[in-house]
Every structure is written in C-alpha cells, then in structure tokens.
C-alpha cells in the first residue's frame, strides 16, 4: 500500500460531452455516488466530480468535468476540453438526433484536446430498449471508423458505467506505459504524484495541468 500523502499516484482529467439530456451528469453521479439521480436538472455550467480508482495496482484519482450540453453554452464549454486525458462522448440511444450530432462533438474533441486523449463513446439509456432509436451496430461502426472505444451503458441501472470510466483509465494508463502519452507534454491531462518525496521519483515533476478554464 502506498504510504504517500496523496493515496494515489496519478491524476487523470476527464471531460464528459454530448447533447443536452443524454445523461452526462447522471453518468457522473452514478460513477461517483453509485446512485441514479431521477430528476437531474440541466447542468448550467460545469460540474466537477472525483473518485479514486485502481488500475494495474496503481491508485488513480479521476477528476471529472461534466459539461453543460445545451447548444448555447457550446462556445463556453469548449474552454474545458483543454488538458483532458479522457473524453467521454455521450449520446442517447433513444434519440437519434443526439447520435447525429456526434461528429460535431467529436470534431470539437479532436480539435481541442491533445492527440493522445482517449475518447470513449457511450450510448446511454441502454435500459430503454423498447425506445431504441440507434442500433448498437451502427454506433459500433461509427466508433470503429473514428477509432473510439465504445460501450452502451445505463446511468439508471448502472450497467457498464463503471466499465466506461475504468476502461478509459486503463487505456490512458496503457498509453503512459507504452510511452505514447508523454507526461511532460503540456496538457497531457495526467499528473503524476510521487509515492514518497525523494524516493524512486525524479525531482522535476511534470507540469501539473491547470484546472478548468482558468485561462
């Protein structure tokens, strides 16, 4: 067990993006609190959540930014993409329009994050099978074509929610391990915390990513 004061060795910054009402905040809440928020108000701004997870024996602190989905806030929420190590791109499987807008969200994500940002596509509301408007297959194809990780999940039942957040972290961690994500690069979205001061860590720490849009 790590004896450090931080209790975790990495911080990953995540953003959650996608149309209004696809369940971004509910996914975050389900992930951090293991509860479904039935009457979740629209996010007017950017919510913030955190949880410590474990990947390959390493404790990782996730800092998750849940953005407002309303179109009128789009210009503002773009400020928050910077420095994200993971982006959860969410649509609602019962509303095709939210799926149709994916390419626009995706291009924002591609343009505003660094090339190594792991983008995970989540088809939310998988519990509403009867109202399904987007098939798994076509979304899967979209994901494959754009090289996205993909899963269908339900913030209501909790199905696959954990997986989406954890798989994203695993992929980021893998990128760190194989060297494709350079921690020293600006805006990598990852902070490395030393286990113990002065032990098995070089003195010069990678620049901590600046939080949020304190531009």
């Amino acid at each position: 067990m790590s004896a450090g004061p931080y209790n975790y060795s990495y911080i990953f910054k995540y953003i959650i993006i996608g149309d209004m009402g696809v369940g971004k905040s509910c996914l975050l809440h389900q992930f951090t609190e293991k509860k479904f928020m039935a009457d979740c108000p629209h996010t007017i701004g950017v919510e913030f959540g955190t949880r410590i997870i474990e990947v390959a024996g390493q404790k990782i602190k996730l800092q998750i930014w849940d953005t407002a989905g309303q179109e009128r806030f789009r210009a503002v929420t773009r400020s928050y993409y910077r420095g994200a190590a993971g982006a959860l791109l969410v649509y609602d499987i019962t509303r095709r329009s939210t799926y149709n807008h994916l390419s626009s969200w995706l291009s924002d994500a591609r343009n505003l994050t660094n090339p190594n940002t792991v983008i995970f596509l989540i088809g939310n509301k998988s519990d509403l099978e009867a109202q399904r408007d987007v098939t798994y297959e076509e979304a899967k194809q979209f994901a494959d074509e754009n090289e996205l990780l993909f899963i269908e999940a339900s913030a209501k039942t909790g199905d696959n929610v954990e997986d989406a957040f954890l798989e994203t972290a695993k992929k980021i961690y893998q990128n760190i391990q194989d060297g494709s994500l350079d921690l020293n690069a600006a805006e990598s979205g990852v902070q490395h915390k030393p286990l113990q001061p002065g032990r098995n860590q070089p003195q010069n720490q990678p620049n901590p990513t600046k939080e949020g849009c304190a531009c």
Partner: protein
Amino acid sequence: MESLIANLQAQLPSGHRIVTISFSLKHSFSLEAGLVQEWIRTNRLLVLVENSTESALLIYIVSKNVADEFSLERTIPLDTEFKCEIDTASANIVTTDIFLKLSRKKVHLLFEMLPGFKANKFVDEVVKASEVANKKRAPPNFSWLEVYNPQLVWESTTGSDSEQPTSAATELQPSSQNCHDAIPAHLNHKSDSELSSPDVTAHRSSIATGGATPIAARESVVRYQMALRETAYTDLRQISIFLGTYNVNGQPPTSGLADWLSVDKDPPDIYAVGFQELDLSKEAFLFNETPREEEWLRAVIRGLHPKGKYRKVKLVRLVGMMLIVFIQEKHWAYVRGVASEFVGTGLMGKMGNKGGVAIRLDLHNSSLCFVNSHLAAHTEEVERRNQDYLDICNRLVFSTTFPSKAIKDHDQVFWIGDLNYRLSGDLDLLRVKDLLDQSNYQALLQYDQFRAQHAARKIFVGYQEGPILFRPSYKYDPGTDNWDTSEKNRAPAWCDRCLWKGDNVQFKEYRSHPGLRMSDHKPVSCLLECGVKIIDTVRYRRIYEEVMKKLDKLENEFLPQVSVDSTEINFGNVAFNEGATKILTVANTGQVPVQYEFIKKHRDSKYCKPWLACEPYTGFLMPGDNSYITLEILVDKRTAWSLNSGLDELYDILVLHLDGGKDIFITVSGNYQKSCFGCSIEALIQMHQPIAQVAPETVCQLEKAAYPSIDPGNDSDSKQPVLAVPKELWFLLDELYRRGMDTPGLFEQPGLSTEIAAIRKTLDESLPDTLPGSVHSVAESLLIFLETLKEPIIPFSLTQKALDGCGAFPSCKTVYSCLPLSHQHVFKHIISFLKEVLLHSSKNGLDAKTLVALFGSALIRLPPPNYPLGPSISLSLNQPHLDRKRCMFIHHFLVNDLDD
C-alpha cells in the same frame, strides 16, 4: 485565548483547574441505526482540567455562530485506561496537521489540530497528565467528574468488578455516535435557549471551516477507519494458550516437566512458560549469566505436549526471571512483530532480582503480550509489590515495534509469575493449615492479599483470574509435598498466579502441579481459549473499498458548492445611457468555504462584455452565507454602435468559477432599444423614419454598409435619396434656434438627465415639432449626440491632419474639403449654428472661446485605442495641447467664411 480560558474557568466548579485548551476537529462517523452513514469532522474545544491529583479531558462542541459558546459533549478521565498518541504513522510524510488519537476502553476519538506551539503544548500536557495517572498509587476516583455529567454514571471506581469480565459495557457510548449526551447542568443556567438544543445540523456547515484540504492525510484516516471497523472484517479463531509459572528456587531441572506442561489431552497452540529464581548465584545476579537458562529451556522443550510440533517464538531472561513462548508450527506463518523487553525493580529500582520480562507478538490481526514477573517478597511488603507491578506497567515498553507499544497497548495480555502476595499476616498458621486440610480454599482466599489489592483496584485493573481450586503453591519442603518445616516456618500462600486481560478470552483450567518437587514452590498453570482476530480478505477488501468510497463521496461533498438564485438574468428593455441593475444571490450551500470569481472565457479579454459590470466580481463565502452580486448594465457611447450595428448583442454568458470546484454559467440578456445616439451619420441620413420605426435589421444593414471594411459583403448601396443632415441633428439645432439663442448660460448650465432621456426617446420614436425639456437639456443632448456618433464629424482618419493644420485657415479648409459629403453638411450646419449663437452672446453670455472648447471635443475625437491608424500617423499629444489644437481648428471656421 487567555480570556477564553478565564471565561471557561469561571464556569467550572472550584478546585477544577484548567491546565490548557486546544481547538481541534473531531473525526467521526455518524451512525444511523447502527450503520455508518458518513464520515464527518466537527469543531471541538479540548480542555484539560485537573482536580487535586487527577486530570480529565472535557470535550466541548463549538457552536458555529457564537465564537465563545460551548456545550460539553463528553468527559474523559485520564486514568490508566486512557491512551493518547499522535498518529505517528503519518508523521514521516508531508502533512501539516496533527492527528491526535485519544482512547479509553472502547472509546476511540480522533482529533485533528493545526500544528504549532499551542498544539504541541497541549499534547505535552495531556501526555504528562496521563503519565501521572499511570504512576499514581492511590486508586482512581473520578467522582468529581459527575458534576459535568449527572446522567451518566461513571464506571464504578470503588466496587469490585475484578471478577466480572467486560465491565466496559457500562462505558460511555462509542465515539462514532454523534452524541450530545452530556449537557452539564451548571452550564445551562447561562442561556437555556442557546444550550438546550444543540444544533444537530450545524456540523454540516461548520465542518472544515478552517482547512482548505479537508481530506488531509487521507491514508491515516483510512487506516483509522479500518481499525474502527475491525470486527466487520475479522473472524475469531479459537486458539488454546497454556500459561505456566514456576519459581524453581535456583534448582536445576532434575526431573521431567511433562507433569506440568503436558497434562491436557490436546496440545495447546501457544505455550508461555515463566520461571523465577532460575539461578540464585552471585554470578547470575551480577553478570546476568547462567548455565540454567539452557538447562531449563531444554527441559521445557522436552516437556512440551508430544502431540504438538512447536517452534520457539522468543526467550527472554533477566537474572532469575525467564519467559519462553512457543507456538505450534502451523501458526508460525501468521506471527509478526515479535519483541521482548524486561524491567528490573530490585535493588535501587533497577536490579534484576525482581521485576518483569515480557514477550509480545502479533498473531493474525491480534496483538498478544506475555509478562512474567517476580514481585517483592515478604508478607508485609504489599505496597512494594504494588509498586513493582506499576513500575513494570509504566516502564516496560517494546521500543522495537513501530509505534512503540506498552503492555496495555495489546489486545490480550497474559501475566504470570511469582507475584508473592501472601495471606494477610494476622491469620494463625495452625488455622491456615487446618483449613487447608479441609480443602476450604474459599475461606483462606478471603485473606489473600492479591485479591484484596485487586478488589481495591490498586493493581491489575481489568485483569481476570480463574477460580483457585488448588492448594497454595508455596511453601513446601523441597522434594516433598509437605508445608515448610524450616525454622522460618512460612505460612502457605498462593504466590504463583496466572492472569489475563482482553476480549474473547475463555477460561479453561487453573491448577498447580504438586508432582514436581524440585523447588519450594509448586508450578502453576492456566489453560485459556482465546479468540484471535483473523482478517477475512474478501470482507476486508469490501470494507476497504467501502471506506474508500465513503471518502470519495465525502471528497465530493467537500467540494465547494454554491447555488445562485438565477442563472438567467434578463434586463428587459435597455435604453441608451440608462443603466439598470440586477442582484444575483450566491449562497454557499456546501460544507467548505468558497472562493468564487467570474472568470474570463477562452480568448476573451474580460470576464464580461463592456456594457456589463459585476460588483464584486470575486469574493469569499463561508458555508451557509450569502453574497449579493450587483450586475449593472449600461450602454453608452463605447458600446452603443456595436449594438446598433448588430456586431454585438445584449447577451453574455458569465462563468462563475468556484476555486477548486465547479463552474456555473450565468446568462445575461437584455433587449437594446436602438437609438439615434450611437449611430453613424451615414446611417442616420438614410433613415427617413424615427429609428424606432426602422426594422432593426435595416439599422444593422445601414450601419454595416457605412463601414464596408467591417462587412464587405454588405455593399448594397440603396439608391434611396439621403437627408442632408441627420434629421435628429436638425431637430436639436432647430429647437435651439427657436428657444435657446437668448437663454443665459446656454451650453454652460447642465441639463437634467431625465429630460435628456425624454429628448432622446422623442427623437428615437417620432418626428417631433418640438422637443421636451429645458433649453439646457436640449443643448446637452446636442453635445451628447455629436459625441456618440460612430465617427466624429472630423473622421478619425483626418484627426491627425486637422490637428496638424490648425495653425492656418487654408489648411483647415483643406481638411474640410476632404470630409465625406455628409460630414461636410453636418459640419457646415454646426458652424453656422455656432456663429448664430455668438451673435446672441450679449443675451446668452457665451463667448467663442467657451464654445470652441465645447464643440472641439465633440467634433474632433481621438480614435479609440484599437483604431487602425496608418503607419505615418502618430497621435501622441498631451491633453492641454490636444485641447488647444482642437479649439484653434474650430475657431478658424468661426472667424472665417467657408464659402470664401
């Protein structure tokens, strides 16, 4: 701090003296129906108070609102059960806060203090007081604390609880309960209303009012929480422990020990075998060396139960006192942290002929401690024996473990040895032997010094002993079972005893072994069944994750949280130069102080549009507090044109950022009433209707067309006939021609802002025959109109030329000829108006100098900072210089004729 102490002291009964106090945060889980709900930290005031030789801690709940309002939560007597330690496990890492662990019996409390001199002093004093309590010889009597806590009866300090295990059941409630159980009656008189209803909800908002990092040293908190919930993830495994004690009177092992060590059917899991007077020689005493150690060790090994396979855990010896612990091979893998220590209490309180030796170990998740002691001899030396016992308790510390542990810091303690307590001296020896012949031990045990001292709680508080159903182990003629016949003729006594302390210990056997006749003592043994805590890794993992999850949840709850009363602020109709304000209420609904700030959006230079201002735009909010932010909207000459032209709109999204937390978007909007003020001449001369009747898009088009550089695509020069001058200018000048020429103080006396607003409204909405308001308001409106034109009459591109050429009329006239046609018209109109005004100067009192000063700054303006100037143009003028040149330029036109 001093006055606070004095204030508190005044409320305490006389004789109770406050030693020191400290503010701290208490960590606890709140319990609901026995389930851990959440982990919280609440403010507490710790007060160390002493009464004659005893000390206690008073723990006060600190009221959230009133700084010096406290209610007593609990009292903790500093007795031998009290433990106080700094959470040292986190001391080697970078953490600023001091974690103080206080425990007494089943009460465990964790306090967090800000580091520094005060905290150090406080901890010092508490430790000192607790040491005093441990060394104290008089029985503890904490009845003086009852005054604080009439409802709760303190654990009986005088009654005999020694034969009743787990007296702790009557203890205080567990720490985890969020209790307000003890409101002291004598404090209540101060203010019933304030104290009688402790603010149960207060902790939610008062938590962490001091700390920016509420989750400091999370690791130690996790460890602490796991310790609290130990029973949930540990199972008890029964192991049998054989305790044996034998005073061998310096004799070598001449016969086997099996009759002592392996008389039971099943082999015990653990042996703890203690000897006293192993070697009475001078060499042993002075040099602590003896061949007997090896001899007796071999004898013990030979005597261990033949069905068990044993491993020696440790051997420790001090002169004649030796303790050996064996464990069955199968348990060896679960043994950790083996250590031994000894304390001599003999001559000068140091020599090793008397004292104690001890071995400790962790077996699975339980800590066990075995002590073998030889206390002072002779019937009358009861107090010496008591003191020896206390000395061993206080001085014996296992320093090789981390953190170091005293005897009492173990889950289970087993204490054996020749304690040397006798039958009290006033008993006739013949009577003793008589009773012994009848096997009437109970009658004799009434005279047992140990039982008397134990019942008086002078020694072995909390320890238990099995029922004594065997003959005294002392004193026999060696080699026989006969009572001492030597000339000393010692009375028989139960000198050799086995005791234990701790939970989950079951008594099995307690006996002596008269068959061993080497010594003048008989060996004694005790067989116990002990529950050892074994971690169930599956449940441990689950509970660990629960604790982690709880902390995650907590961490999320400790994020700054505010709510705003509105995220949509609409100012409705907004008119030119008429400000409006709205109040935004920001409430700290979270549990930590919040630093909020309106922050700039990506690429913006300011947190809001230039027509908006927030006061204050940053602030600090304590939990439960509100902040009122004034949003002021004002469209003036700087911003009017961009709104008229549609380059901007009354719509902005403000980002209210919480330091270390979320952002809230506040949408601000309004409906700008387009006005002729803040337009361009080019657009105005194309509007034949009042601007309010022109479609807003048309206004935008006209304005954009006037500046093709801004919107090159919009070059639709509608061939509508244009007005010579903006009709609004004409109305203003006409009004002044008709009403103002002879008015004294014209252009010098200010107008009224309400009248100016009415004039503007009239011009925006109608083609008036006459304008409302006084002449002065009309005159000021004229100046404002000229000043707010998108481009001044002398356009920015000609400003430099005009100022450079102000020395002579011909060069000024050249500038005039360079003006766009519409500007020429307006300029001409204004010049002739000014000339007319001067003709009436006898009435209106104006002179040319004042007039050119007023109009100079309206007609010639410096370009805005971001105006694209040509490379040759440099407008570096100081203000008086600039003013003078502007006046000179205008003045030339007043004294010369343009048409010349």
